[in-house]
Symmetry: none
Subunit: 421 residues, 2 copies
Amino acid sequence: MDTIKVEIITIGDEILIGQIVDTNSAWMATQLNQYGFEIHKITSVHDNAQQIKEAITYAFTQAQIVLLTGGIGPTKDDITKHTLCELFNTRLIHSQEVYDNIIQLFKHRPNVMNPLTATQAMVPENCTVIQNEVGTAPITWFEQQGKILVSMPGVPYEMMHNMTTQIIPRLAKHFNTPNILHQTIITYGIPESQLAITLTDWENNLPQHIQLAYLPNNGLVKLRLSGISDDQEELKKEIQQLFNQLPPLLGDAIIAHEDITPQAYIGQLLKEKQQTISTAESCTGGNIAHLITSIPGSSEYYKGSITAYANEIKINILGVSEEKLIQHGAVSREVVEQMATGVRQKMNTHYAIATSGIAGPDGGTPDKPVGTTWIAVATPDRVISKKFQFGKLREQNINRATQAALTLLIQLIKHDNFKTN
Amino acid sequence: MDTIKVEIITIGDEILIGQIVDTNSAWMATQLNQYGFEIHKITSVHDNAQQIKEAITYAFTQAQIVLLTGGIGPTKDDITKHTLCELFNTRLIHSQEVYDNIIQLFKHRPNVMNPLTATQAMVPENCTVIQNEVGTAPITWFEQQGKILVSMPGVPYEMMHNMTTQIIPRLAKHFNTPNILHQTIITYGIPESQLAITLTDWENNLPQHIQLAYLPNNGLVKLRLSGISDDQEELKKEIQQLFNQLPPLLGDAIIAHEDITPQAYIGQLLKEKQQTISTAESCTGGNIAHLITSIPGSSEYYKGSITAYANEIKINILGVSEEKLIQHGAVSREVVEQMATGVRQKMNTHYAIATSGIAGPDGGTPDKPVGTTWIAVATPDRVISKKFQFGKLREQNINRATQAALTLLIQLIKHDNFKTN
């Protein structure tokens, strides 16, 4: 069965002068892939009518679906809507429904509403208008000769929300895409190339209709099996059986049997066990707390965090011993373990995570170069800690330390059977 | 004077399945812009010979320069080099110079060298080969009828190094480019459409050679003026004069006069004043700490944070009065102000920020619906607080509260003249 080809066109001068990085396309590609759509090409063009028209026309020589993001704000430089009218030979008309939606969105701040906002309710006449549930610019959906063009906002959260709840479900229904099943397991601690060697035989024995993909990210490697079949139940069983062969090969490296973020998985585990957690962060600077609290309902199991960036905070608030700090330095087993036990006691939680490392670019020494990181997890009856050597880039070091800390916690929760009282 | 048009083509299946975000293009665009090159279009295509050839041919109908990144590694799926030979009607030959460069690069780890690495020394015959100083894949430079094609590695670090030291200087010399100037100011608190109305007269009076763009993101709106002129000094003055007309129109809404993130700007301001800051976060859950510490050198002015997710942490660690918590609720002026003054005292800093809100999806009440957020900033002699009503989406609420808090702090730092001791 052929895949349906999609082209993404992102519109905006800000992309072409490098003021923003186009993160939308990668997100859209990942989501569309899961529904059996193939991204054929991604193009970024200026807020320029001629260029937008050319890009759309050229895209349709190859693709059945063209998705546009951006250029639909209320200001003068946003011209996508007018350009689509020219291209599809139609005109803008007032949509009462869209207008009502805008009024609804501005309910709590009516003074912000103005004539320009109201122009958002002008939509092309011969298209399907899809309400934007989280913003004022509506989504427009054009069909012509079996091909589809959808124009949507470029603001990432508006795009994501509407793609998930409205656009992808409609596309999947319209094209009756093949039944693709993706199942993912998440591993941690084995580099991609080593994983590939360990799994050589297993991979060679995969049936032809099931594909394997390695998706590495900050130390985690997701293994995804994808298959196409009309018999979803049968395919699901088959993939499950293949994954069941992995634990003897990979052991503890498997941290989750579904495609879930570590922070969401931690939420599931802690809710199930009715346990709580706190964090003490130095080099990760609040990123672990941020990820844990990004999960809805996290207040059920997450009590809080102390980001102890300065040593005096480690001593005065977390209760790290000044002597140990001087003797071993802030980036050491001794200090990170005291941080973990300190915050666990202070916040009265079952578990606690602590991080201390040199994120860079400065602060490295020959003994402890940039990237050196200690991570500890404390439980009611013990504290374990581990040293990592990450790279030279600050952002990457913060992200890797965060993933390592969350993973260490998952491994401990899964193997810990201490009583909860 | 016309600008020189550049098209960027990024090659790699990993981009089109969303496995990586194309960050190269934005970086390249920023750099090239400064030398007067205009990025006309960015296209991402698969590792597919036919698609690469079509993309290059189509790009040259509009652009004088085509820059390719990626697809030049040693593995089977990297086919750019072979494709360029077909397109430019040439063949691969061995380059002793490139081979010597590879040997040099592997000097310290000769066991990593393998037959595949050596194939990197095979280069197209009728092109200029530019040595890659930081990797094994050479850069190839083709000239035809006054147009230029450059193929370079997609690994960000290798691309950046070679663009800076070799490719851009050669392009600038070859094309004798005009000068483009971009200047940005950042505003907060006025929605894009309201800004556009306020600035109607100013915008209509802009000279033809200067363009305006609005770039909104989480409550911030950047205003960018761009112009082309051979006289950079004159243009700079002209744009500066235009921006100088804005403070009477926008007042406090202008938070920065350059293109900078709020967290980086806070860093600049605090370093300049040699002042320090701490944070107490409830609804933002560590995101403010995370952004502040994402800035290299932030340990100079950032001491730490208490993420007080549970009320008991607000009481026990931040010193919020239990009575006030019960009387007014956690999301209230009284509590958020106590959080700010509490963490400021505890961490002994000049400033402190605190947030308390209902991020959602649960926890809203008729009185305090999801999105209700209180933010406070404490200084040595006062504490100010402000209520915000954001939207329904958790992630959006966290991001907006974070931006609002950082912005409130900037406004206070800029208008605060208290002595530092």
